[in-house]
């Protein structure tokens, strides 16, 4: 159903495909940037990914004025402040971030701090309360195909002193350019390839069924689901298959664009809580929770879930499935998919496998109902509902 009103923005220019990295210098020049700061993490520096980026920049005559690799797994305000200080000291004029979710969120935080001329990003916490500010050229190179951060308007940064996870939602967090290059993801191990792709699939499915859904987010979500489902097994089996890798990268980006404009719901609300309280990796939490949460939402979202079957399977299967069974078939397809990935690369299927304890359910449920994602979930969920989902997924 078309919403009475909606907004949509996906402003980043996409550079995708072979030698995409080599086109970054031209983009930077067009954006007025000559001496960017390069942000990445120590693992990517160690395995040579950072060098690949540096080589591509160097080939186009761009030498970063500063490189920062000490970014922790959870983005923090202290890291953001340290990078902003280095940026100013080194006379940088733009940001290039290569990494996963934490590197990208940190880079978004740095850009916010620099463009808004403030000293503490805590002041900007909230939703749509940030203006454009000063233009800071910003290029993102994702190294996983899951978070979709390169196209989202969300950043989560931890305030270490106050022990608060600060959530920022603003269209001005989107980068100027997002670069998808197959070289950035070929080294991802099979299990991580599978879990991050399931995260992207979850973004697309939730985007397709949440309250903020709109015709444009639906188009991105459905295309993302088709691309991920058709290429996931190939990429897990053979990580060197560049075509499958690029399909997952594109799927992840499109899923990011979809959920950025439609938001995610109960799967993410519970997943964030499991991450914060039990330390469950986000993508694994998504894989485990997705079928159970779809079952929970079924009475409100049956029509949308039924439509998803067409994007997850071939036309013949869709046509031969009776209309009233399509939604449950979609959930069954997801279950089959996670089971196959479990056999292929050991992707966890239960919360028990990832070390969640039953005694933490109450705390997790409390955190989940307070998560911002819950507001756009089509069905109301209280702590008892969340505990019941957790029990089933345990």
């Amino acid at each position: 159903m078309k919403p009475a009103y909606y907004e949509f923005q996906n402003s980043a220019k996409i550079l995708a495909g072979k030698y995409a990295l080599e086109n970054i210098p031209t983009e930077l020049e067009n954006l007025g940037c000559k001496s960017p700061i390069l942000l990445t993490d120590n693992v990517l520096a160690k395995i040579g990914t950072m060098q690949t980026v540096l080589d591509a920049l160097g080939a186009g005559g761009i030498v970063p004025a500063a490189v920062f690799t000490d970014i922790p797994a959870d983005s923090s305000d202290q890291t953001v402040n340290a990078i902003a200080a280095l940026y100013r000291k080194s006379g940088c004029d733009g940001i290039v971030a290569a990494g996963g979710g934490s590197v990208i969120d940190t880079a978004k935080g740095v850009r916010m701090l620099l463009s808004q001329d403030i000293t503490d990003i805590l002041e900007l916490m909230g939703c749509e309360c940030i203006g454009r500010g000063r233009q800071i050229p910003f290029v993102i190179i994702p190294t996983t195909s899951g978070t979709g951060s390169e196209s989202t308007l969300v950043a989560v940064i931890k305030n270490v002193e106050k022990q608060v996870k600060m959530e920022f939602i603003s269209y001005y967090l989107q980068p100027d350019a997002a670069v998808l290059d197959p070289r950035m993801t070929v080294s991802l191990p099979p299990k991580m390839t599978a879990s991050t792709a399931m995260d992207a699939l979850c973004h697309a499915i939730e985007a397709y069924s949440c309250l903020q859904k709109n015709p444009l987010s639906d188009a991105y979500a459905s295309a993302a689901i088709k691309m991920i489902c058709s290429n996931l097994y190939t990429a897990v089996k053979n990580g060197r298959d560049e075509e499958a890798r690029m399909a997952l990268a594109n799927g992840s980006l499109m899923a990011g664009a979809a959920f950025s404009n439609s938001m995610v719901g109960i799967v993410h609300a519970i997943g964030h809580a499991l991450g914060g309280i039990c330390g469950v990796p986000h993508a694994e939490a998504m894989t485990i929770l997705l079928p159970y949460c779809l079952e929970y939402n079924m009475d409100k979202c049956e029509e949308d879930y039924a439509k998803l079957l067409l994007f997850m399977t071939d036309e013949e299967t869709y046509a031969s499935t009776p209309g009233q069974e399509r939604a449950s078939k979609t959930v069954e397809m997801i279950r089959r998919m996670t089971c196959r990935l479990h056999e292929m690369c050991g992707l966890p299927l239960t919360l028990q496998e990832v070390g969640v304890l039953e005694k933490d359910f109450e705390k997790v449920a409390q955190a989940a109902v307070n998560d911002g994602a819950m507001i756009v979930n089509p069905k109301k969920a209280d702590t008892a509902d969340v505990i019941s989902i957790l029990k089933r997924a345990w």
């Binding site: 909606y6 002041e123 916490m125 749509e128 309360c129 608060v164 307070n370 507001i375 756009v376 069905k379």
Partner: protein, 186 residues
């Protein structure tokens, strides 16, 4: 601006101001008699301030938690510990405050901007949903809420309490305690 639009804005602003006043009355009374709202409010930190602003220049409701109850404040001073919801236009606020759209629906339609912690806002949304369950007839709440909440008291009883609170001046605006504020400018 045309006269028609000006009149419409004035009318909507006045209606929003009245509804915000009643909404505060409902929250204050329900804090004392509805166990779910009392539980939500008890989870807020002491001195926590929420502000609902019906557009940039529109009427607003600002209140702080004080013990088990709520105090209505004269003004809002931005502070990263507090939460302010500002509707983007008086028309967006009017839809919510007259029961044509729920808060979650307004959020989905980008109806407001939010300054502060998103998690703290979720508790306020739950309180608002419960209060709407009492203030608006079922035919409206069924359309705007994801689930119509069960009432612990009858609506007439709540309306009676709100009116009593009004006549006993329980909703008059007070100044917030100065230590509440940080240095951030308004």
């Amino acid at each position: 601006m045309s006269l028609k639009k000006r009149l419409s804005l004035t009318l909507k602003k006045n209606i929003c101001a009245i509804v915000l006043y009643f909404l505060f009355g409902a929250l204050k009374q329900l804090a004392a008699c509805d166990t779910r709202i009392a539980k939500e409010i008890s989870s807020w930190p002491e001195g926590m301030v929420y502000c609902l602003k019906a557009s940039k220049n529109g009427p607003f409701l600002c209140f702080e938690k004080s013990g088990d109850s709520l105090n209505r404040l004269k003004e809002y001073t931005p502070d990263c510990r507090n939460v302010r919801i500002t509707f983007k236009s008086i028309d967006s606020a009017f839809l919510v405050l007259t029961g044509q759209l729920g808060l979650s629906g307004s959020y989905s339609a980008h109806g407001f901007i939010l300054e502060g912690d998103v998690q703290k806002t979720m508790s306020l949304c739950r309180c608002a949903d419960l209060a709407e369950g009492y203030l608006f007839p079922r035919v409206m709440t069924r359309r705007i809420l994801k689930e119509v909440p069960e009432k612990e008291h009858c609506t007439l009883n709540i309306y009676g309490r709100i009116l009593l609170g009004m006549f006993t001046l329980q909703y008059r605006q007070i100044c917030a305690a100065p230590q509440q504020y940080l240095s951030r400018k308004a």
